[in-house]
């Protein structure tokens, strides 16, 4: 696959395609081959359903052959070879910056998203939301057209409307999501030129505005902070969940894990301290973690700064400051460790912390001489001046005061997310003309005059910059399924009242970045590579502003120690659906939260101690009241959470968005069977945005919590979090590793083997059958030291292998279908404050697979490439294999999940387009499991045969990747041919940390693990 990644086919041809009639037909889903497969696939499943009723028919299956039409092209675009996928470079706008992607398309329909190896923000990797974007594209619940006050309208209607209403004399306000688009920025200038005294405000509920404001206060300039985690030796995270949150988390994960990679005992690794209230993904990877209230993080920061101020210059503002953390052991230890690593350390603050914290952190990094070494401050040209938060508040107040004729909203959903005391809806009422561009007919859309349905980024022309400023172009993979418009076409229409072609608009913009002489060639190169290299933002030289000290002094005054028994409430963006924007993507909803393993819901997270004080346990409903607002939520005990603090994820409790995002249990609600003993309460809403107010944006210091006595069932995929002293996920400290490199394999004693080296097994009773040596022998290695537990592999697998979403009830019953799950274990003696270790578990592909011998019909057997193959169409569903699988990686279709998943919604055919034509859609009653993406392996193998005229069956090392490996942002997964001694995977497996899970069973898995290494500070214990 990646072989093709390196030279994806040129865009030009598909571009011509876009203008030809036939291609449009195409999008009415008349494919030569695959559409028919899918359609027929469904009919077959229906057939089977009927078979369930009348078995007698079975023999005649063949007679009832459905007449099947094949629709060829009129003229086939040269590069399209039916049956062979094509790969195009594009980029995904993610929370205000772009990440480069490569998209796999089958006969014109995108089916899989991969990272673009050329693109610095991706480096070939993606995160869960990017993997999920495919399902977002084919979401039947997206808005299907333009509406005005509930009436369906055409694009021309909108144009004429725009022409009359957006005349230059109007006073127009623009409210825009964080968006790095260069073209949008260009049009923005036009807009501000046309509409005198217009206002342009950027609004993100969980954006980087606080960080920017902090830097603004520190340096007198709005700068974007970028941390080079790969270069740092010591990292201090002050409530900074940099591995999960923030638009650059893919880059962060890559850098962070690179900074910890251990090839041998000689290598060194970084050390991560985390200070936070919630148990974040970052915290779960930290070497040391301090759990304090969210409201105390600020105090801790100042205390740290103060203690540093005594040792180094540049922090005079903090001299003499002290609070109850000043003689906390952490402060002294951190001070020492940071000073020992001047210029090689990072102090990072969470986006949701006050500007003051960010200002202090900026000062600390300056003082530690980290600037331009481990920390860069980028000057982003597209930013407006001023404090975005304040400007948004003012704008809203002005709107309410009726100071504007028109409000133009781009991609935001303020009615849902804006602080409740602002009462944004009344602002909408107060404004004469309101227009919104968004993908769903969401809360805001329902209150605006005009709603234009937005094109998905895979359907649109666009451009933008990565977090660090690298410019890329977004090119469409498919015509807008619902005729949606991109933000640039929309804005252009508003300004000019005429329709502008996205393609032209973008080229227009890029003329200024490319030399006019050979524009076309450069343009094609950019489209091909996906980036315009070496275009990072510039990093101005900065120094602490004169007003910094006074600013901090005000901050000191405001920062108060919260009462010990005060309960605080913290609102965090959700790990999967952020602020709800990805809420209708089933894959993400069903993905277990990396730390709590909860699916489909948000809960009130609290520590053991706190839960005890309220007398609640998991799934007990508590009512949380603050500032007159009350929300009822299920309590969930999260060991390691700060005491007297409650964390709730935002983005849930939506209404009328779609069948996934809405407040119910996913696609299995109505038409499906419900089990009696398992009863569920429904609530008005699990929406916590009402708590957000202008003066308490994201946390409240004193809230009242009551146990309601109700019970709300939560679907968590892992009920048991202790390893029970079993050596499953193995870890050690850096020192133990250096003293005894083989500590990991030795953790489980296996008879007949002293020092377990790679592929050394105890004898079996018989000589096992081997794979054929002319074939590749596939093997995998998962490095627990790199794995951060984000769950991207799960979604990538789901996208690649047509794995259905089963809905909350089924997950609750333990019937989730994920082929690769990430186990999360709590370690440590203190139940209140445990460590966490993550362990992804796909099928181990045992050579002596216990599952195979027990299948009565030989539906699961061994391939000669060493795969433990699962033949769906042979399976009769005894589930014996699943029982006998010690790793519990087999998944059973208890209902006709695929059918329900693929045929639900208003426009079922659309979701079918997301399916991978190379993988069978599994029907009811069969077992399924990971097969190392055998469809990719076989394709690579055959391609290799074609290349070498059959002389070799073994794909070149690295030319084939499994979906999980390719997506993994931490590069934790290695995969390849273990019969080739020089392959990467073999090299990795030779590492001393290599061990086999449950090797006492002598199942001889092809998948092995590398033990996790922690790097604790000896002074801490």
């Amino acid at each position: 696959m990646s072989k093709t990644n390196e030279n994806p086919t040129y865009w030009k041809s598909l571009n011509q395609l876009a203008n030809n009639e036939e291609y449009k037909k195409f999008l009415e889903r008349e494919f030569p081959e695959n559409a028919s497969e899918l359609k027929d696939g469904m009919s077959r499943k229906n057939f089977l359903r009927i078979m369930g009723a009348s078995i007698a028919l079975a023999g005649f299956a063949a007679c009832r052959r459905p007449v099947e039409k094949i629709l060829p092209y009129k003229t086939r675009p040269e590069e399209v070879v039916p049956g062979n996928p094509l790969y195009y470079a594009t980029a995904m706008p993610y929370r205000g910056s772009l990440t480069g992607l490569v998209v796999e398309t089958h006969e014109g329909r995108p089916t899989k998203i991969e990272g673009n190896t050329e693109h610095p923000a991706s480096m070939g990797n993606t995160n869960t939301q990017m993997q999920g974007a495919i399902l977002g594209l084919y979401d039947p619940d997206r808005a299907h057209g333009i509406t005005s006050d509930g009436q369906k309208k055409s694009w021309d209607d909108f144009l004429s409307f725009a022409k009359q209403n957006f005349t230059s004399d109007k006073k127009v306000a623009f409210l825009c999501e964080a968006n790095s688009s260069l073209t949008l920025n260009r049009l923005k200038k036009d807009a501000l030129k046309k509409f005198k005294n217009a206002e342009w405000v950027t609004y993100e509920p969980f954006g980087e505005q606080n960080a920017l404001e902090g830097n603004n206060q520190a340096f007198g300039k709005k700068l974007r902070t970028y941390n080079h985690f790969d270069k740092a030796k010591v990292i201090v995270s002050l409530d900074a969940d940099f591995l999960q949150q923030g638009s650059e988390n893919v880059t962060n994960i890559g850098n962070y894990t690179r900074g910890r990679a251990l090839e041998s005992t000689k290598d060194s690794m970084n050390r991560l301290y985390a200070v936070e209230s919630n148990y974040s993904l970052t915290g779960s990877n930290a070497d040391h973690r301090l759990r304090i209230k969210n409201s105390e993080v600020e105090l801790f920061t100042y205390a740290l700064a103060a203690s540093l101020a005594d040792k180094i210059g540049g922090l005079e503002a903090f001299k003499g400051y002290n609070n109850h953390f000043s003689n906390h052991s952490w402060v002294s230890v951190l001070t020492e460790d940071l000073l020992n690593n001047k210029g090689e350390s990072i102090v990072a603050a969470g986006n949701d912390q006050n500007p003051a914290v960010h200002a202090a952190v900026a000062a600390i990094n300056m003082a530690l001489e980290n600037k331009d070494k481990t920390v860069s401050y980028y000057d982003v040209p597209t930013f407006e001046t001023g404090n975005d938060t304040q400007r948004f508040y003012e704008l809203t107040r002005d709107l309410k005061a009726g100071k504007y004729d028109a409000l133009v909203m781009i991609g935001t959903n303020p009615v849902f997310t804006a602080p409740s005391d602002l009462d944004f809806s009344s602002a909408l009422k107060a404004t004469k003309t309101t227009v919104l561009l968004s993908q769903y007919h969401d809360e805001t859309a329902r209150q605006t005059q005009w709603h234009v349905n937005r094109a998905h980024f895979l359907e649109q022309w666009g451009d933008g910059t990565s977090y660090t400023g690298v410019k890329s172009v977004i090119q469409p993979m498919i015509q807008p399924l619902y005729g949606g418009k991109s933000e640039i076409e929309y804005l252009y229409a508003i300004i000019n009242g005429t329709s502008g072609d996205g393609h032209k608009l973008v080229r227009e913009t890029w003329k200024s970045y490319l030399s006019s002489t050979n524009f076309e060639n450069q343009w094609e190169k950019i489209l091909h590579d996906g980036i315009l290299p070496n275009t990072e933002f510039d990093t101005p030289r900065v120094s602490l502003s004169s007003s910094f000290a006074t600013y901090m002094n005000q901050a000191f005054a405001q920062a108060k120690k919260p009462g010990d028994n005060e309960i605080e409430l913290v609102i965090k963006p959700d790990n999967k659906i952020i602020d709800g924007r990805y809420g209708n993507i089933g894959w993400l909803q069903e993905l277990p939260d990396p730390v709590t393993k909860i699916t489909w819901d948000n809960v009130a997270l609290m520590s053991l101690k706190t839960a005890a004080t309220f007398g609640v346990k998991n799934e007990d409903v508590v009512s949380i009241t603050s500032g007159g607002k009350t929300v009822k939520l299920a309590a969930w005990v999260l060991p390691g959470h700060a005491d007297n603090s409650i964390t709730i994820w935002a983005g849930y409790g939506r209404k009328g968005i779609g069948r996934i995002a809405d407040d119910d249990f996913g696609i299995y609600v109505d038409n499906k069977y419900k089990t009696l003993p398992f009863e569920v309460h429904k609530f008005e809403s699990k929406n916590v945005f009402p708590f957000v107010t202008t003066d308490n944006p994201l946390y409240h210091t004193s809230v009242t919590v009551k146990k309601t006595g109700e019970y709300y069932s939560i679907a968590s995929t892992q009920d048991h979090s202790s390893m029970e002293g079993r050596p499953l996920a193995r870890q050690g400290t850096l020192d133990t590793y250096r003293e005894d490199p083989h500590f990991a394999p030795e953790m489980e004693e296996v008879a007949g083997i002293e020092k377990k080296s790679y592929r050394k097994f105890p004898d079996a009773l018989y000589t096992p059958q081997e794979g054929y040596d002319y074939l590749p022998q596939w093997g995998m290695s998962i490095d627990l030291n790199s794995c951060i537990g984000c769950g991207t592999c799960t979604i990538a697998c789901q996208a690649e292998n047509n794995i259905p979403v089963v809905g909350k009830e089924q997950v609750k019953r333990g019937r989730e279908m994920h082929w690769v799950r990430t186990d999360r274990y709590f370690i440590g003696n203190d139940a209140g404050d445990p460590e966490i270790i993550h362990q992804p578990v796909p099928c181990m592909q045992c050579e002596l697979a216990p599952c195979e011998e027990v299948c009565p019909v030989a539906a699961t057997t061994h391939s000669r490439t060493g795969l433990n193959q699962m033949t769906y169409n042979r399976c009769i569903g005894t589930r014996y294999c699943a029982n006998n699988c010690p790793y519990k990686v087999r998944r059973f279709n208890f209902f006709n999940f695929s059918k329900e998943f693929l045929s639900s919604g208003d426009d079922p055919e659309v979701i079918q387009m997301a399916m991978n034509p190379d993988v069978t859609v599994r029907f009811r009653g069969v077992m399924e499991k990971c097969t190392y993406c055998v469809q990719r392996l076989n394709r690579a193998q055959i391609d290799r045969q074609l290349e070498t005229k059959n002389q070799s069956f073994k794909p070149v090392d690295g030319s084939v990747q499994t979906a999980c490996q390719q997506a993994c942002p931490a590069n934790a997964i290695n995969f390849g041919d273990i019969s080739d001694p020089n392959s990467k995977v073999v090299k990795v497996k030779h590492n001393e940390r290599n061990y086999i899970m449950l090797d006492v069973l002598n199942t001889r898995p092809r998948t092995s693990y590398l033990a996790k290494i922690r790097n604790p500070n000896p002074k801490m214990s």
Binding site: R65, R76, V81, I942
Partner: protein, 217 residues
């Protein structure tokens, strides 16, 4: 007591036994024959929207298969030619059936694709790769029969799994030089396909997978 059964009843048991044995065999044979793909699928010959004759094009005119089915060598799928391919010739050449040519031209003008009806079809859960087979030297005729003699295409082989496996277990008799795959009346020299195939297998390093996920995934 008086007799319950008449005298002839004593002959019933033996006849019953023999009868049921005969019946059983009849049923087994019936199922074995009439439910087999060889009976059900072979000879499936739908009426195509345009009575395109392979006999004329491939047979009489001797156009190579790959002229239309271009992707067969490089893709799993052997594509159905786009209307354009027909037009390449029929924009100039008029044939004996002007009405049919007119149809094609209409399709070409309207851009409406021609709705051909599929003849040779494998279930969705089978991944058959044309390129792999062509590359190995399996002739078109092996699975599709003498297309060049078919006025209307029909299915000639049962295409059931046992049939596939049979060849995968012993490909030799079905192999030929790659240059000859599209040649419909190629015969193995020395008239011994088995031996000739064995040579090809050795020379071209041919191994046909007989494990499941060679085709099923």
């Amino acid at each position: 007591m008086s007799q319950i059964f008449p005298k002839w009843a004593n002959r019933v048991p033996k006849r019953l036994t023999i009868g049921s044995i005969v019946l059983l065999n009849a049923i087994i044979f019936g199922v074995w024959y009439f439910f087999s793909p060889r009976y059900l699928d072979v000879g499936y010959q739908p009426i195509q929207p345009i009575p395109y004759s392979h006999a004329i094009h491939a047979g009489k005119l001797g156009i190579d298969c790959r002229y239309c089915h271009t992707s067969v060598e490089k893709s799993p799928h052997a594509n159905i030619p786009p209307t354009q391919t027909c037009m390449n010739c029929h924009s100039q050449i008029n044939s004996k059936k002007p009405k049919q040519i007119a149809k094609i031209r209409d399709h070409w003008k309207s851009g409406e694709p021609i709705k051909w009806i599929r003849v040779n079809k494998l279930p969705e859960y089978v991944n058959f790769n044309h390129s792999a087979h062509i590359n190995a030297g399996v002739g078109c005729v092996t699975c599709h029969g003498r297309i060049d003699k078919m006025q209307v295409v029909h299915q000639v082989e049962p295409l059931n799994m046992a049939w596939c496996i049979n060849c995968h277990k012993n490909p030799a008799p079905h192999l030929r030089p790659v240059s000859q795959v599209t040649n419909m009346n190629w015969k193995a020299p020395n008239g011994n396909p088995e031996a000739y195939g064995k040579k090809i297998m050795a020379a071209r390093n041919i191994h046909a997978p007989t494990y499941c996920d060679g085709c099923h995934y």
